[in-house]
């Protein structure tokens, strides 16, 4: 078919795309629209109408109420993502570049951990954290520290997978050349692998930051005290007051969604670039 498709098909194409775009953007509109309304003005029955008077009071209030929880989320996400990334990197390196018996068994067993429903480990997890926290000088159950530990452990499978797949694309000749030059396992990692790791590191960090920030089940079970809860859990509690302040609710939801959204908006292309570089296949 030669160029210059019938105009009608093209119009239909854009119409369908626009319809879907509206569907996808509708929730954002609702959140932003109502978050900018004052308490007097906001009501569910008028959720679609634009604000007669734009005000940031809802965002201010939501920010004040959620500030400790946002901070908790940050304190949770940053160490957990970094540590699980570090572990994933060394694990992925060993699995990709150093053959040893059992690697083919270890890897699938590790992978399976990525898919399990977390409900199937919740009960023992709580008991274990309570027990281990008793042994150590700091509490694990009921604290962000415990939650960090949990996310690090359950993050190992996916971070290992991503790094392993990425390192598999590094030509073995480079590793062999380094070994001939005298580097051992650690030397190859430090001088060859680590400098090349940025694309995979970006993918892993973006993924883990988003996943851990958005995670709810572990967070709600392990941090019982509202002061320690990450923002997703606190958001549920924001809904529990007698008079519902819809504008604050919506502003709060937007705030809770904002960090991963910003990560996606600004770093999304690095994520895709890292994926293309081989960090994740299939």
């Amino acid at each position: 078919m030669v160029r210059g498709r019938p105009r009608a098909t093209r119009v239909l194409l854009y119409a369908i795309l626009a319809f879907f775009a509206a569907f996808y953007l509708m929730p954002v509109y609702v959140l932003v629209n109502n978050g900018l309304k004052s308490f007097r003005e906001v009501s569910l029955s008028r959720m679609w109408a634009p604000p007669q008077q734009v005000t940031l009071e809802a965002f201010g209030k939501a920010l004040r109420e959620l500030a400790p929880n946002l901070r908790n989320s940050v304190v949770l996400v940053v160490p957990a993502a970094l540590i699980s990334a570090a572990l994933g990197s060394v694990n992925g390196y060993v699995l990709a570049k150093w053959k040893f018996a059992g690697a083919d068994v270890v890897f699938p067993l590790l992978l399976f951990g990525m898919f399990i429903p977390y409900q199937s480990v919740l009960i023992p997890l709580v008991q274990f954290l309570q027990w281990l926290g008793g042994l150590l000088p700091m509490p694990l159950y009921g604290s962000i520290t415990g939650l960090v530990l949990v996310h690090v452990v359950y993050g190992i499978p996916i971070t290992t997978l991503i790094f392993r797949n990425y390192y598999a694309t590094v030509p073995t000749e480079i590793v062999e050349a380094a070994r001939i030059d005298g580097a051992g396992l650690v030397g190859v990692y430090r001088n060859v692998i680590l400098p090349l790791s940025m694309p995979a590191f970006v993918v892993v960090m973006i993924w883990q930051v988003t996943q851990i920030w958005n995670e709810f089940l572990f967070a709600v079970i392990i941090t019982s005290n509202p002061a320690q809860q990450p923002v997703q859990v606190a958001l549920r509690n924001l809904a529990g007051s007698q008079i519902v302040e819809w504008n604050v609710q919506m502003a709060g939801a937007l705030l809770a969604a904002l960090p991963p959204l910003l990560v996606y908006v600004f770093l999304g292309r690095y994520f895709l670039r890292g994926l293309m570089a081989g960090a994740l296949k299939g």
């Binding site: 078919m1 929730p27 067993l109």
Partner: protein
């Protein structure tokens, strides 16, 4: 000498992770299974052996039966919808659209939103007295109004809509990458062979996308089997348990009702459902990886 030391070192490096995953995944699963076969259904632990009685009892429970049916309906509808919409959007975007980046980002960004926020927003949107119904009415489409999640017979589909909103961008991205991987030369050969656009998609492009369809289906399938956050935030159990899923049942019975053995039993059943999907896929993909 060096090689042996390095080999020992590599095992040593993996050891902490292997031990951690061994304990936190396999050890805990084992323990959960043990609890599932115990009598611990109150605040005081009672680990006396009960065999498979909890499982038998659970399958007789009306709520759980509804859960299973809901999971099935949800999974099938969600999968079909996600794959279909994802493919449609990818095909549309592959045609040199102006503003492709805008559309692509619009479809993809919901993936970065948590299920909690998504569920909360869609609860507001599909509230029958406000939300989308209001919009339809003011647009003159009042006939399309629906009771959404307040009507037991269709409530689960309201949840499917929210889930599609969050996840179909993912499928779209996968299909788009796959479409870009099909060379122009191949499409030209089909054109010269005589294929119309429709025939091109049906006979060449979609069959070549089968591997992607499979991986996407597996990932989406296992997510939908263990779905919890989204339903919890959006509707909870719903009217007459119409949106109840095993994840919610487990949460309520364990952490609100202290019926740990029952909760453990539900967890094990969830695990088995997920394993039935994942394990064949892992075996299949490691085999094809070995071939390549």
């Amino acid at each position: 000498m060096r090689i042996r030391r390095d080999r020992a070192l590599s095992a040593l490096i993996l050891l902490p992770s292997v031990v951690a995953v061994g304990v936190f995944v396999y050890g805990f699963i084992g323990w959960t299974a043990y609890v599932a076969m115990s009598n611990w259904n109150s605040f005081i632990p009672d680990l006396s052996f009960a065999g498979l009685r909890n499982f038998a009892d659970l399958f007789q429970t009306p709520r759980f039966q509804i859960d299973l049916r809901n999971t099935l309906v949800f999974t099938l509808t969600f999968l079909a919808g996600c794959l279909g919409i994802g493919l449609l959007l990818a095909v549309l975007l592959d045609r040199q659209i102006r503003g492709e980046a805008f559309f692509r980002n619009a479809f993809l960004f919901p993936m970065s939103i948590s299920f909690i926020v998504g569920g909360t927003v869609w609860q507001w949107l599909l509230n029958p007295s406000t939300g989308v119904n209001l919009l339809l009415e003011s647009a003159g489409l009042g006939a399309l109004k629906s009771p959404w999640y307040t009507e037991p017979r269709i409530a689960i589909y309201a949840v499917v809509i929210a889930a599609l909103w969050q996840m179909s961008g993912f499928t779209m991205a996968l299909y788009l990458a796959g479409l870009r991987g099909i060379s122009d030369e191949l499409r030209e050969a089909a054109r010269v062979d005589g294929a119309s656009d429709l025939q091109l998609y049906r006979h060449v492009i979609i069959p070549l996308l089968h591997p992607i369809t499979l991986s996407a289906a597996i990932v989406l399938g296992h997510v939908s089997l263990k779905i919890f956050d989204l339903v919890f935030a959006m509707t909870g159990s719903g009217p007459a348990f119409s949106t109840d899923v095993p994840g919610i049942f487990m949460f309520e019975t364990t952490f609100r009702g202290n019926r740990f053995a029952e909760g453990a039993t539900i967890s094990i059943i969830m695990l088995i459902m997920v394993a039935m999907v994942i394990i064949p896929y892992l075996i299949y993909s490691s085999r094809t990886e070995a071939e390549a």
